[in-house]
């Protein structure tokens, strides 16, 4: 299990490939299913063109909450391994914001655990987004929507 907070842009495919490679001796042949979610910055939101975003977090608490969330998922589903990567700092449209990858034996567990982690991250991990609009106005996002709706 690994949780990474990145202040620089990250390549999700590279992150997953490296992580899977580093865990290969333990995982090879053992997992049948991998579910991956990637959240990417869009260039529009609520009808406005967005130029960029600043992502603030609470160092220490962010990691602590993400560890709890991953532990909760691992208690509910037979998870073999998990990787969570989240950007902070200044972000441009089309850059990845979050990566969740879950390795399991069976596909249902991979989907369920990955979605659980994403929903819990959205509602409990202390990150805050401030958008910079094309109009130069800045605005804090007020609330994440529920992804199960």
């Amino acid at each position: 299990m690994d949780i990474k907070i990145c202040a620089e842009p990250f390549d999700p495919w590279q992150e997953i490939r490296e992580y899977q490679h580093s865990s290969a001796k333990d995982m090879a042949g053992k997992f049948g299913a991998t579910n991956i979610f990637i959240g990417t910055m869009r260039d529009f939101n609520e009808g406005d063109d967005v130029k960029g975003m600043t992502l603030e977090h609470y160092p220490g608490m962010t990691e602590k909450q993400l560890e709890k969330i991953v532990a909760e998922a691992s208690r509910q589903w037979p998870v073999i391994d998990t990787l969570v990567v989240h950007r902070v700092g200044d972000i441009l449209p089309n850059e990845p914001i979050v990566l969740v990858a879950v390795w399991t034996s069976h596909r249902g567990d991979a989907f369920d655990a990955s979605r659980y982690i994403m929903e819990a991250l959205k509602s409990r991990a202390p990150f805050w987004k401030k958008e910079l609009l094309k109009s130069q106005a800045e605005r804090w996002l007020v609330k994440n929507t529920d992804g199960y709706l």
Binding site: L55, M61, H86, K122, R124, F127, K129, W140, K143, N144
Partner: protein
């Protein structure tokens, strides 16, 4: 007792600072900490609070050395 108070995101901007170091006796709860640090400002309704990086309610107890944080709903992911 000594309490470190931290503020994040829009709440940090509206209180105008990122942290306080309180040195007061008689701070029993998280709510007390807010009122002592921000006597003229009510905590916005939807705010969240944490003690030592765990979520807590405003009536949760605090003790000497705790780090108490206040922040708006989270919007990561």
């Amino acid at each position: 007792m000594s309490i470190k108070v931290r503020y994040f995101a829009s709440l940090k901007e509206s209180v105008g600072r990122s942290e306080d170091n309180l040195e007061f006796a008689g701070l029993a709860t998280v709510g007390d900490v807010w009122r002592r640090a921000n006597p003229s400002k009510a905590l916005p309704n939807n705010s969240l609070a944490a003690v030592n990086m765990d979520y807590v309610g405003l009536d949760s107890a605090v003790k000497d050395g705790d780090e108490v944080a206040f922040f708006p709903p989270v919007t990561g992911g």
